[in-house]
């Protein structure tokens, strides 16, 4: 049985960061209902939608993959009747999670105070780029800006080239985890106190929090870390080296003298040079070391070499692309990818979180929902509306 069996989460918003946060709870059995709108669909539903696409709003792979085991109810929130239905769902929910720009929820009377009036013990979390307060709170943005402002771009890349963020806009994967942590902590607190609370999370701030070491280094020493390719400040060799085949690479890192001695056991004779026996010697010879490592790795197979280095006690691994991940035996052992069939897209590998609970396995069984797929289940099943009432709402365009 999932940890959150019986927990009711109402989700409003769009994109990746909001939905990923509640996915952790869906994975553990919570009932997650998304309020969506056909008039203003979640931009993930239209992200790769070209004019000639036959898939429509229900066939966006990214939306489908990021929203498994959730329900979708379609409400036109520009109509008072739509807002009234949303308010009844708020009263039903234990948790309200939203990631609109600040002010959108308030427009519907659903700011935190409005929610508490309907459901005094709700746990409410608002996640947006800059948070609910401050002079720049209304600045519109996506993860690309979040990664840049929080400092990740400046730290990623080559010293002689552009700053570019880690693939996939890092604040979109970091911030939902902190939303989930805040929700889980507030729910635990509510068990004890009976009280809910409102959490105001800025994607940029949770990124800066992660980079606490950078802030402390600047404040203490006036030194801002820079992007240094794959080099380490403290050790060498520490890099990504070419292997046999197109775009094939191996990552190798030495963390101390003991690790270097393990690597020397595998490397050719040049590595026995006495000067390389110390950290200072290796750092001084970093470029030459990288060149020799490159010559040594280039004709070899990345996985076979990684296996050989690991057997010798050296940190090494093949640089894995998407195909390698989908075939990775360790991820398969953990059941990371869960194959689930989607009506339009066919079978897709859905992804688990990065941890397993020994007594609460959790998992997914349904793909991300079609827009309004659960109108009946939500409006009938939760709010008790009759089939005729729902039909009338559809006819008037309130449920749409």
């Amino acid at each position: 049985m999932g940890v959150f069996e019986g927990l009711k989460i109402l989700e409003l918003g769009s994109g990746a960061a909001g939905p990923v946060a509640t996915r952790y709870f869906a994975e553990q059995g919570a009932r997650v209902v998304r309020i969506e709108s056909a008039k203003r669909p979640d931009f993930l539903r239209v992200l790769f939608l070209t004019p000639d696409s036959k898939l429509g709003l229900d066939g966006s792979p990214m939306y489908v993959l990021l929203n498994p085991d959730k329900e979708s109810v379609a409400l036109d929130m520009s109509r008072p009747e739509g807002v009234a239905l949303a308010k009844r769902l708020v009263a039903w929910a234990d948790v309200v999670a939203e990631n609109f720009s600040p002010g959108v929820m308030a427009k519907w009377g659903l700011d935190a105070d409005g929610i508490f009036a309907l459901r005094p013990d709700a746990v409410v979390v608002s996640g947006c780029l800059f948070g609910q307060t401050g002079p720049q709170r209304s600045y519109p943005g996506f993860g690309g800006q979040g990664s840049a402002i929080a400092g990740f771009n400046h730290l990623t890349g080559w010293p002689d080239r552009e700053a570019h963020g880690p693939y996939g806009t890092i604040t979109d994967s970091l911030s939902p985890r902190y939303v989930a942590v805040a929700l889980a902590a507030a729910l635990l607190e509510r068990r004890r106190t009976g009280r809910g609370r409102h959490v105001d999370l800025s994607q940029i701030e949770s990124g800066v929090y992660s980079l606490a070491e950078l802030v402390v280094r600047w404040s203490a020493n006036g030194e801002g870390e820079v992007r240094r390719g794959n080099a380490s400040e403290r050790e060498a060799p520490h890099g990504v080296y070419p292997c046999r085949g197109p775009d094939a690479w191996i990552a190798i890192s030495v963390r101390d003298d003991a690790a270097w001695r393990a690597l020397v056991g595998v490397l050719p004779d040049w590595a026995r040079e006495a000067a390389l026996g110390s950290v200072a010697g290796r750092l001084a010879a970093r470029d030459a070391l990288d060149a020799r490592m490159t010559d040594w790795t280039r004709p070899q197979d990345a996985l076979a070499l990684a296996e050989r280095l690991q057997a010798a006690g050296v940190e090494a691994g093949p640089v894995q692309g998407f195909d390698a991940l989908l075939a990775d035996p360790q991820l398969a052992h953990r059941g990371h990818f869960v194959p689930i069939r989607h009506a339009q897209l066919g079978e897709l590998p859905f992804e688990r979180s990065g941890f397993r609970l020994s007594q609460s396995p959790g998992g997914f069984s349904r793909p991300g929902p079609n827009l309004g797929e659960h109108n009946q289940a939500v409006l009938g099943g939760i709010l008790g509306l009759s089939a005729e009432e729902i039909e009338a709402l559809v006819a008037r365009g309130v449920v749409a």
Partner: protein, 407 residues
């Protein structure tokens, strides 16, 4: 929010932030170091460049809101002491040892060894690949984790090797997942009265950074290529006069108003050619636009951005609702007016070091500041007397344990 919960944090550098998250939420986190201190974790750089484990900036940054004790779990008296501590704990956080994910088991004090006597304890192990499986014993630090987790291959320029972030993002992604797993297990304990094991794989937490790209790839299996400063086909990172800015040259309803606003600004500054002023952004799609057209647009925008500073560009972006952001360095982050107005930074005093240092105080805000730094990171063994005193151990017993290498 977590007051009353006791966490024993035996983690190495890969888990420091995970323990900090729980401490900043109000849990009583006791950082456990080997006698003499965790010298690998108390690493460079040091305050004012003076090598001293008490001056490690990474340590000070990532171990706030923890008390600190020393405990040598490798010695038999140390193990006995660990079991006594365990009786007071709700959570154990550990990270195994390199190549040995079940390090504590090898000492007879792992999860399975202690689950009988201390059934309520939630046990979280953060390891590179998880506690079991064909690669469970592989060694990996940040670089190898991001390599095997899929992010590295897609980051960087197509003509150079894949490249990582120069700060250890592998730990950053794992920390909140570990904290979340622990909180979930604590929820379950409310129902069952029993703890359980939270098995965190650093590699697996990396996959979230791909935001479902492997699953999308499974649909079409097209070859993937790093695109450097581009996102897909169009430029995302642009040179400004004094650095770089992020600006997506992409279409779609959410982005059209910002493209229109950018061109309007360029026109005001007499920097928009006629064809650009008349551009039909409603019909623009980065998915279908031709290469020559992309080149023409990038030249016009690029020339405009390159003549202005990051600050000038950002100020106008804020005023005009343009989706453009500076690629900030540390100073620019700390001076950011929005972050300062939210009081993100707090100054902690280190009197014995003669320093006052700013830290980011929270990962999310609540009206009552329930999430914040509770105390500075501990000195080596700073709270031995306090924490062991809570077990009823006095000075003579502690001296004996010190002589035995246990504390």
């Amino acid at each position: 929010m977590l007051s009353g919960l006791r966490v024993l944090d035996l983690s190495d550098e890969s888990g420091f932030l995970a323990g900090k998250v729980l401490g900043d939420l109000g849990a009583d986190v006791v950082k456990v170091e080997p006698p003499g201190g965790d010298l690998a974790g108390r690493r460079a750089p040091f305050l004012h460049g003076r090598a001293d484990p008490e001056r490690s900036l990474a340590w000070l940054a990532l171990n706030t809101s923890k008390r600190g004790i020393t405990l040598g779990v490798e010695s038999p008296p140390g193990r006995a002491l660990f079991r006594r501590l365990l009786a007071t704990a709700d959570v154990v956080l550990e990270t195994g040892a390199p190549g040995l994910p079940r390090w504590l088991e090898s000492l007879g004090i792992g999860f399975e060894d202690c689950a009988g006597e201390h059934a309520r304890v939630v046990w979280c192990a953060i390891t590179p690949f998880g506690r079991s499986g064909p690669r469970a014993h592989w060694r990996a630090g940040d670089l190898v984790v991001v390599a095997m987790g899929g992010n590295l291959k897609m980051t960087g320029d197509p003509d150079r090797p894949p490249v990582r972030c120069s700060m250890p993002t592998a730990w950053y992604h794992a920390a909140p997942e570990a904290a979340l797993g622990i909180l979930m297990a604590l929820h379950q304990r409310e129902r069952t009265g029993r703890g359980q094991l939270v098995d965190v794989s650093l590699q697996e937490t990396q996959l979230q950074t791909l935001l479902s790209a492997p699953g999308q790839h499974a649909l079409h299996r097209r070859p993937q290529q790093r695109t450097g400063a581009r996102l897909g086909r169009t430029r995302e990172i642009w040179p400004a006069r004094d650095g770089y800015v992020s600006f997506g040259l992409r279409g779609g309803p959410a982005r059209v108003p910002n493209l229109v606003a950018t061109v309007a600004w360029m026109a005001e500054e007499d920097a928009a050619p006629d064809w650009l002023r008349a551009y039909d952004w409603q019909r623009f799609s980065h998915l279908t636009v031709g290469d020559a057209e992309i080149a023409r647009l990038e030249e016009a925008f690029g020339a405009f951005f390159a003549m202005r500073t990051m600050r000038e560009l950002y100020e106008q972006a804020l005023a005009r609702r343009i989706l453009l952001a500076p690629c900030n360095d540390a100073r620019e982050i700390v001076e950011h007016p929005q972050l300062r107005s939210r009081e993100l930074f707090v100054t902690l005093d280190y009197p014995e070091l003669g320093a006052a240092i700013e830290h980011p105080d929270f990962f999310a805000r609540t009206a009552d500041r329930a999430i914040r730094i509770r105390r500075r990171a501990p000195r080596v063994g700073e709270h031995n007397a306090e924490v062991y005193g809570e077990l009823g151990l006095g000075a003579p017993e502690l001296e004996k344990l010190a002589a035995e290498g246990a504390v």
